[in-house]
Amino acid sequence: MPTATPNAPTSSRSRTVRFAIVRCDGPGKPERTELFDVPVEPGANIISCLQWIAANPVTIEGVRTTPPTWDSGCLEEVCGSCTMNINGRVRQACSALIDAVSPSTTPPGPGGATITLEPMRKFPVVRDLCVDRARFFRNLERIKAWVPVDGTYSLGAGPTESPDHQATRYALSTCMTCGCCLEACPQFLREDKPEAWDTSFVGAAVISQAVLFNDHPTGATLKPQRLDVLSGPGGVNDCGNSQNCVKVCPKEIPLTESIGAAGRQVTVHAVKKFFSGR
C-alpha cells in the first residue's frame, strides 16, 4: 500500500477527492450523509479540506448546505480535539494527510478517491463531527488523575527521580485524552446517561492514568482510593483484553502494559484488604 510521508506527497498536482461527511444538526437530531468534491493540494490534511468545505458548503448535487462543524486546536496531534472516524478508523483529523488516507488519483465516483468522515461513536454528538467527551473527564476525576498538592506551603525538594522511572512515566504522561482507545474498545460502549457513568467501563486511557499517578511518589498517597475505583464496577476487570486500544493510540502509549500493571495492583490491593479487613 502506498503511504505518504509529510514531506514527500505521492501526487504532485492538485486532484479532486470526494468527502462523505456524516452530519447531524444537534443532540437527538437525525443523521444524514452529505457528499462534497474537494480540490486537494499535495500535503493537504483532513482539517484543511474541512476548512475548504466550510467555505464552500455545496454538495455534489449543487445544493447549498450549512458549513460542517468540527473540533480542532493544536493542529499538530497534541491536543486530541480533532479526533474522528476517518474511513471507518478513529484518528486525528489534523495529522491525517489526504495522500495517505486516500492515495487514489482516480476522479471521484465509483472506485474513485473517497474519504468518509464520521463523528466518534462512543460519545454523544454535539453537532456534525463535534462530540462531548464529558464522560472521559468524569472518569479521570473518579480515579483522581492528579498529584495531591495544595500549594499553600513549601513541601521542600521533591523525591529523586531515576531516568528509567522517568522514561516509563513519561510515556504514560503523553496521553492527550483524545479517546481513540475508547472508540476502538469493544468493552467501552456509548453511555449518554451521566448516572450510569460511574459503573460503566472507564477504558484504557483512564486505567493508564491511574497507573501513572500511582507511580508518582506523591501521587501514590491516593493509590488506595484509585484502586478502589479500578477494582469496582467499570474498573480494570471489565477490560476484555482485545488490545485494540494499544494499536490505535496515536501516542503509542503502552496501554496493555498499563492494564496488566493495574491488574497486578488491584490483585495486591484486594489481598491486602482481605487480610486487613478494610
Binding site: P186, D198, N237, G240, S242, G260, R264, V266
Partner: protein, 281 residues
C-alpha cells in the same frame, strides 16, 4: 469537590456491582481451576483411545486404545463420592462460569469489521467459543452422563462398562456404521472441543493480564507462546479423541470390552490361587 455526585451508597448497589471484583475474579479462577485442569485431564483420558494403541501391554487385548480407555474410565468410576466431585467440582463451577461468562460477554460489542486485528479476533472468538461451548457441554453431559438418549441419533445410551464401544456408537449414530446424523454429531463434537480448547488457551493468556502476572509486552508475548503450545497439545489430544471414537468400530470395541470383563471376572480366582497354594521352598 463533587466527586461523589453520581455515586450511590454501597448498600443500594445491585448485587453484581457490590461483588463486582469477587465475581469477576471467581469467574476467571473457576475457568482455570477446576474447569481448565479438568479439561486437560478429560482430554488426556479420552485421547487414550488413540495413544493407548501404542501401549504394548494393552495392545495384547486386541485394541490397546479401547482397553486403555476402559481402564481410565474404570479408575474414574472407582473414585469415592464421584457424584459429589461431579456436582461441586464440575457442574456447579461450569454453571457459574457459563452464566457469568454469558452475562459478561453481553457487556461488550464486537467491532472486528472496523478493527480487524488478530487480538481483536481472539476477543470475539473467546466469546463465541464460550456460547458454543456452553451448548456443547450441555449436550455432551446431558446425553452421556444424564442419559438423555432422545438427543442421541440412534438412541445409544453410554455405559461406563462398555465405555469405548457405546461412545463410538453415540458419535457414529449406529453400531454398524456412520450415519448422516452421526456425521453431524461428530462434527459438533469436533467444533465443540476445538472451540473449548481455544477458550482455555486464550483464557489462560488473558487471565495472566487480568491478575497482573504478565505486565510487560515481552512477558505477555512469552506467556502467549506457552499458551499457544498448551493449546496446540490439547488440540492434538482433542482431535485424536474425537476422530479416534468417530472412526472406532463399536462391534469390534465391544468384543475387546467383553474379553476385558471376563478377564477381570476371572482375576480374583487367579490372584487368590498363589496365596492358597503352599509356597515352594
Amino acid at each position: 469537590m463533587s466527586e461523589t455526585a453520581h455515586e450511590a451508597p454501597a448498600k443500594q448497589q445491585p448485587f453484581m456491582q457490590r461483588h463486582h471484583f469477587l465475581l469477576r475474579r471467581l469467574h476467571s479462577l473457576t475457568g482455570v481451576m477446576p474447569i481448565g485442569v479438568f479439561l486437560i485431564n478429560h482430554l488426556l483420558t479420552n485421547s487414550s483411545v488413540v495413544w493407548g494403541m501404542i501401549d504394548p501391554k494393552a495392545g495384547k487385548t486386541g485394541h490397546g486404545g479401547v482397553a486403555t480407555f476402559q481402564h481410565e474410565v474404570d479408575f474414574i468410576h472407582s473414585l469415592p463420592y464421584l457424584i459429589i466431585i461431579e456436582i461441586f467440582g464440575l457442574w456447579l463451577p461450569i454453571a457459574f462460569h457459563s452464566v457469568l461468562g454469558v452475562y459478561y460477554a453481553t457487556t461488550g460489542r464486537a467491532n472486528n469489521a472496523r478493527y480487524p486485528f488478530q487480538d481483536n479476533w481472539r476477543y470475539t472468538l473467546q466469546r463465541v467459543s464460550g456460547y458454543v461451548g456452553v451448548l456443547f457441554i450441555f449436550y455432551h453431559v446431558a446425553t452421556l452422563r444424564w442419559g438423555w438418549t432422545f438427543l442421541v441419533p440412534g438412541g445409544t445410551r453410554w455405559s461406563a462398562e462398555y465405555a469405548a464401544s457405546t461412545l463410538a456408537q453415540t458419535l457414529r449414530g449406529h453400531a454398524s456404521g456412520l450415519t448422516l446424523a452421526g456425521v453431524g454429531v461428530s462434527l459438533f463434537y469436533m467444533a465443540g472441543v476445538s472451540l473449548l480448547v481455544f477458550h482455555l488457551a486464550n483464557g489462560l493468556w488473558t487471565a495472566a493480564i487480568t491478575w497482573g502476572l504478565t505486565v510487560s509486552r515481552q512477558a505477555q508475548r512469552r506467556w502467549g507462546y506457552a499458551c499457544a503450545g498448551l493449546g496446540a497439545a490439547l488440540m492434538a489430544m482433542a482431535w485424536s479423541a474425537v476422530i479416534g471414537f468417530a472412526t472406532l468400530d463399536p462391534v469390534r470395541a465391544r468384543l475387546v470390552e467383553e474379553s476385558l470383563r471376563s478377564a477381570h471376572r476371572a482375576e480374583p480366582a487367579l490372584t487368590a490361587a498363589p496365596d492358597a497354594a503352599p509356597r515352594r521352598p
